[in-house]
Assembly symmetry: C2
């Protein structure tokens, strides 16, 4: 954990002072994205020190052939890698013949990065003395346009302390690789490479997946903000093209290099039009300046913040953290493209590959439902509906039949592409989260059309899977689910993980109940589905029977449910007894030791009690929380948020606040000592939940919003907006009052601490 | 399964008829070795069809960097690869300009391989018509010398149907690779390469491990058995050197190319002397001919067979099979070098890497104890003693302390070098087999010195491991062993595997008991050990307490022990209900499905009841056999032998015979459809046990031999010898009589079906 890497500021992330050891970590933190593409905060000029180069395009991936020590039957053929894409930001600069490269500078006098979350702008400035004695000052600004999703813009300003000859080569480079390649395969093949005086273009396609990508750039020069003309000579190699420009810079004058660049891909355009589309885009921008483009960017971000911002008075570190989380979520996924999803690292690193985990359904959907319009959340559900056939194929590969669907642990296109047997084959609870998200979406939005139109088929595929996967134990005379990995990945191949069994039971019941509802309310849809997937009553009876006889491990003496069979045989020592030098245990203990320990990586039983909270009394929750929390090491980014919400609910305010900080500042404070690999995007939605469902205690009660606020002590005021059933609610919470206003005039009910209040326009409630 | 690939013959394996699809399988079956080195039966002349090239040197390995999909803490850094060594057998032959290569011949008219197990000679002959119309007949003989362990000898005879110019290039080639390389690393680096008119030499060393190996050859030519002189020109490339010889062959005359070649390594000679040692060896063989060297080979094999042969009258397929097994075991390990061990594939393939598994202690030691002098078995135990420090380091890497030792799953030098967590970290029962072998050796040989001199320290290291690895379950109020893989590798990460818990308990008890014996009988050794390893009485008390309170899962209703916690929750359908098209299940089912099935890869509970058979009544054995046998798929080569022995004991003669054939003819009949990867060497010792401990029912009763014969119906007579406590016993068994003779005149007792008989010289007992 590296507390205080970045000073607290309500809207900005600031990294001050030159520390080469910190370059890779800050490249993650200062990443920018616009939903369609994103990039790590790599330098524009050369840098020969330690750096992790990364630029990514949503949905463009490579199926890297699986590499394991010993092949096991059923392994997916490939692991989908988020592809490092061609570099369009680079500018080689020589000053009086010396390459500008901070790693080789004589001295770096000043160095600063600033990320302005309010407007989506990333800035970097430094002053350095080169080996040849020349002093140079650089100030660059960069953003990826929300208005034009193919476009990124750079304003790179340079000044020297004496007259100097600059050799400048803005370039495109497709000679890039992935750090995590399995077989040192080549991922890209170049199809076309060319340049004019002021523009350059590389077209390349990915091997195997055959995505074509056109990477383009246009260069403009300005001196003291006046556009100047220039000539360039094209420098071209097999995979790289640059425009070499010679420029005499006078001391005290500032040269500004503007680069407009980005990607167009065959995901959005016909392959054969990519180059002309790039030219058309640049032509359309002919009269746009950096300022005018940046103004559009500011407007877009302003409109995002209008519905998504959370303000916290009295606690700037909490304020900074929640904005950082909301900012990153919006950089990663805008909800406009149903073919995209929310990768665990977004556009900030390669780790985890793929784009879609159960994180989306379990953690991200509430955020997008509440801060955007309901079409966005529906797009996320539709993504899974469109991949149902693949989920059925995944299940068939594992021996399931008759339309049973197993959604993948990791995927780009619906096919499973992870490769650890204990995860891919056994962490099957992911299926339940996908069904739960359908329930949750319907409950929140009131959209009754999704289930008959799409969701029902998904629910049936999942119910079929569970009915086949559960087996009857003659010894227990109940249905059991053997050989699984629960949400707690510090257990593998356990029997009767409570969360898995409980959620499987719920899936079967819910599918049967919804199908019945369709027969009554949407008979045409019911008939269509019934025929399409050959669903018989006997099958639904079997779901109900399996659900009714599902075994759920518990301990009567402790009055708790059991995480899995045999949990109480472990040596039950609390996390507090661990040597801090051995934490996180996954970096210090061998895997077998972790497995047989009682330590819980992320909420498991408690995840279930969070999802299905109405099913349990506060006393039940209290006992289970009291038992499991002390064994939880929270070594998954997805863990603290659930504990924060439950701690709030149970009135454990200090714990809740500590968990909040841990989830909210996970990357800023680098709790897991790995931020250089990229940011934990999906858990950022959990941070939002910690506030809205935790401190504000928001729930849906019937068809109405309900709140049970318990603010952290330091918080003077908490303010946020919620899009609920197409109305916008604004909440202002202090320690003593709740003020709720709504942008509709219809009268509605609001529950606060279970008391009903009438809401029309605005209501103020003393707490 | 490919029954009847090879015709039955008491002493020979014969492969008749040209079938290119069978080349790789026969390369395995016809492998030859002499304990120090071995090779697959690759062709001497060129072959461009499918082939698996392999030549191996005992103890020479490469630590190939581990490659896994997701790294887990505690993984060994490397996986030891048995190295494919430079090729010394090769001879390029051109006949009138056309390369001799059966893959490109116009027609192959006759083709035969013969392995003569009686003398250790491998022959191959063929007649083919080349594309240029020339008919050619080849007959080659090859053996690896038991008399000179560095030496192999080839007599390669060639005849053409018309006068022809032959271009012959006998060569050495160090440009070889491993099929199973993880990172396409180079394994060898060439240090020296040279040749004279008639000899050639390549010296190379392995990277990382730095073994130096000198590969040498000498070439002689004979025409119609008369030595002829020849000149050659040296053809040298970076990694290969050959002697090019032009020869005019007259139709009807036979040219014989003799190659003497092989390896000298820095395991046995100072690196700087390797070349001079090779020259000295060849000089010493100046007057030896192929015949004289082959005569020495025959003598050596004759002496092996004298003590190790088993004859079976009335069942030639059983006869052939047991000899094939005994032959391969002797090719793999001769017992002369305590630095070597018995790799699961011997010198016949690359798979499994490493050289030493628990197979050695669990399956091989009885064979070597009974068919060789006791020094050989003691060498196998010493091998583990010498690696005790490494076993302690292995345990330390997993968090154990204070001299706890975990012997590796796979090793070359004592370090663990396997890389599946469920095996490496969890299949810890291997430790018990190593302790059991010490007990078994002492019981069999009567050598009371091994434990005080070496074995005690091993027993203590193992007892310490179990005492730390077991943990106290407050729920069960007993010690449990969580998170293990038992002998049945179709279960992973189970709790309380009965075999593991039972054998762990025995290890702790045995170590305490032996240490007490040392205090009484070998006080000086006891004091030395006590001080060396800081062994306190309190620690031994803890072993005894842990052993006494060890939890052993059982089912009172079924009156059986339970393979592990929760076994009875599985869907308990017998193997007989499986679709034969889905067998072996490991080639058809995904791993998760295998794991949650009740199917047992190899004897698990029954392995324990085999080891500790005195601890269980016949009724207990019967019930457990009746329960577990029907779930056993025997997809490990190590499984049928244990079932064969127990079936014999329980009087299930037909089952025993079926299991015998399955273990004995596993490779000849290719039960597991994988013989091309190499032979299953260690399970061959299990075949020997199936006869001696199974059909003959040999046990040690106190200090005496005991037999309980139950011959298969077809067997008229079974005859074998046993070296027991330095006397040689010859057994002749028919359906009605047992004749036992001994080569000592002292009077001793022999038990047959629990009745005592006095034996002096010879006794005949009616059954």
């Amino acid at each position: 954990m590296n507390l205080n890497n970045y000073p607290f500021h309500p809207w900005k992330i600031i990294d001050k002072g030159w520390n080469p050891e910190n370059v890779e970590a800050s490249e993650s933190i200062f990443s920018i994205g616009n939903g369609a593409m994103g990039q790590r905060a790599n330098f524009e000029e050369d840098y020969s020190g330690k750096t992790f180069q990364g630029s990514y395009i949503g949905g463009v991936y490579y199926p890297d052939k699986t590499r394991v020590g010993w092949w096991k039957n059923g392994y997916p053929e490939y692991f989908a890698k988020v592809l490092n894409a061609p570099n369009w930001i680079g500018i080689h600069i020589k000053i009086e013949g010396e390459q500008l490269d901070l790693h080789h500078a004589k001295e770096v006098l000043h160095y600063e990065r600033v990320l302005d979350m309010e407007s989506g702008l990333y800035e970097r400035s430094f002053t350095a003395t080169l080996q040849n004695g020349i002093g140079v000052r650089v100030h660059s600004k960069r953003f990826l346009s929300l208005a034009q999703s193919a476009l990124g813009v750079i304003d790179y300003r340079i000044e020297t302390d004496r007259d100097a000859t600059l050799e400048i080569i803005p370039y495109l480079d497709a000679g890039i690789t992935n750090q995590d390649s399995n077989w040192e395969d080549q991922f890209w093949e170049i199809d076309r490479i060319g340049a004019t005086q002021k523009t350059a273009y590389i077209e390349a396609h990915t091997l195997k997946t055959e995505f074509s990508v056109g990477t383009f750039m246009e260069v403009r020069l300005l001196e003291n903000d006046d556009t100047i003309d220039f000539t360039s000579s094209v420098k071209k190699t097999e995979k790289k093209v640059g425009l070499e420009i010679s420029h005499q810079l006078t001391a005290g004058k500032e040269l500004s290099i503007h680069k407009l660049g980005g990607y167009l891909s065959s995901r959005n355009y016909p392959k054969e039009n990519l180059e002309s589309e790039a030219n058309a885009l640049l032509l359309a921008l002919k009269n746009e300046s950096f300022s005018s483009l940046y103004n559009a960017q500011k407007e877009k971000w302003s409109s995002i913040w209008k519905s998504a911002d959370i303000t916290i008075d009295g606690d700037v570190k909490a304020q900074q953290a929640i904005r950082f989380n909301i900012f990153q979520l919006n950089q990663t996924y805008t909800g406009e493209d149903a073919g995209l999803n929310i990768g665990p690292k977004g556009f900030t690193g390669e780790k985890y590959g793929g784009s879609t985990y159960w994180d989306t359904e379990a953690y991200c959907i509430p955020f997008y439902m509440a801060t955007k319009n309901q079409a966005v959340a529906r797009n996320l559900l539709t993504y899974r509906y469109l991949q149902l056939d693949r989920a059925i194929e995944n299940a068939e590969k594992l021996g399931f039949t008759k339309g049973a669907a197993l959604y993948p642990m990791v995927t780009m296109n619906g096919e499973e592409c992870h490769n650890e047997w204990e995860i891919t084959f056994e962490e099957i609870h992911r299926n339940s989260a996908i069904a739960f998200a359908i329930f949750n979406y319907t409950r929140y939005t009131g959209d009754t059309s999704y289930i008959p139109e799409m969701g029902m088929e998904v629910l049936v595929g999942i119910a079929r899977f569970w009915a086949q996967r559960a087996s009857f134990s003659a010894a227990k005379k109940q249905y059991v689910i053997l050989g699984v990995t629960g949400p707690n990945e510090y257990e593998n191949n356990v029997n009767n993980n409570w969360y898995t069994n409980y959620s499987a039971r719920w899936c079967m019941e819910y599918a049967a109940e919804q199908m019945n509802r369709l027969y009554n309310e949407f008979p045409a849809d019911a008939a269509r589905i019934q025929q399409k997937i050959d669903l018989q009553d006997a099958e639904m009876e079997q779901w109900k029977k399996t659900a009714a006889q599902m075994y759920l491990p518990k301990d009567d003496a402790l009055k708790i449910v059991l995480q899995q069979d045999g949990f109480l045989d472990k040596t039950l020592e609390h996390v507090s007894s661990l040597d801090p030098a051995e934490r996180p245990i996954n970096q210090h203990w061998s895997w077998d030791r972790i497995l047989r320990s009682p330590y819980i990586k992320q909420a498991d039983v408690l995840q279930g009690m969070y999802f299905f909270e109405d099913h349990f009394s506060n006393e039940e929750l209290e006992r289970n929380y009291a038992f499991y929390e002390p064994f939880t090491v929270h070594e998954s980014s997805l863990s603290p948020c659930v504990h924060a919400i439950l701690a709030s609910k149970l009135g454990k305010e200090e714990q809740a606040y500590a968990f909040y900080l841990r989830t909210a500042r996970l990357d800023l404070d680098d709790y897991n000592a790995e931020v250089e690999e990229g940011l934990h995007i999906t858990s950022m939605a959990g941070t939002w939940m910690s506030i809205v469902e935790g401190f504000a205690g928001m729930r849906i009660k019937g068809e109405q919003l309900s709140f049970a606020p318990r603010l952290p002590k330091a918080w003077e005021k908490l303010q946020f907006k919620i899009n609920f059933r197409d109305a916008i609610y604004t909440l202002e919470l202090t320690q003593d009052t709740l003020v709720c206003s709504v942008d509709q005039s219809e009268e509605t009910t609001l529950f606060v601490h279970d008391t009903a209040y009438t809401l029309r326009d605005k209501v103020e409630i003393a707490l």
